[in-house]
């Protein structure tokens, strides 16, 4: 991964408390898994930034290396990698996601 890509990813994570790296945008997701996570965040009324990795091949590959995680979507909350689709979905279903948001001081609809 080149430095530009790394810096770009880092700045997305630093400037957005909740950052979702996804295929497509929150309004027009291009993959069912990205859509699922995006919808969960919408239901919780979390203010999040959706970063469309399809806009750049270097971003699409770079985020996998950055997080050491082979799949997209990926969720970062306050700079910390929380998980991909399966983990975040499980956390949403068992209430852990709300707990993490609460612990990290992120506003959401309870």
């Amino acid at each position: 991964m080149d430095d530009n890509t790394k810096n770009l990813i880092q700045s997305h994570i630093d400037t957005n408390e909740v950052c979702l790296f996804m295929k497509g945008t929150p309004d027009a997701p291009q993959c069912g898994f990205s859509m699922a996570i995006s919808n969960m965040l919408k239901i919780l009324e979390v203010n999040y930034k959706g970063v469309n990795v399809l806009e750049s091949q270097s971003l699409r590959e770079g985020i996998k290396e950055f997080s050491d995680w082979p799949t997209i979507p990926q969720v970062y909350i306050k700079g910390e990698f929380v998980g991909g689709c399966d983990i975040v979905k499980e956390m949403y279903e068992n209430g852990e996601l709300k707990k993490v948001l609460e612990d990290k001081g992120i506003n959401f609809k309870n």
Binding site: F33, D68, W69, I72, G83, G84, I87, M91
Partner: protein, 76 residues
């Protein structure tokens, strides 16, 4: 490119020896699977670490040949 169920199970078991692996072909198309992996080796690890163990067992296939493998891990 599709992978067959047996191959996924074999790869996981090679790397996590006590794993109990249940695989479901979600769409019947040989491309959308869900795998539930139960192992003692997951104890003391968080979900991210557990899923990484499964991803590592699949030796780089995740995200490539395997586009759609939903993973669930359980501690035994």
């Amino acid at each position: 490119m599709a992978m067959d169920l047996k191959e996924i199970e074999t790869l996981i078991k090679e790397s996590i020896s006590d794993a109990i692996v249940e695989i479901e072909d979600l769409a019947g198309d040989g491309n959308h699977y869900s795998a539930t992996v139960t192992s003692k080796e997951f104890s003391g690890k968080n979900k991210i670490e557990q899923h990484k163990m499964v991803y590592n067992s699949l030796k780089g296939k995740m995200g490539n040949e395997l586009h759609a493998l939903a993973i669930k891990t359980k501690e035994q």
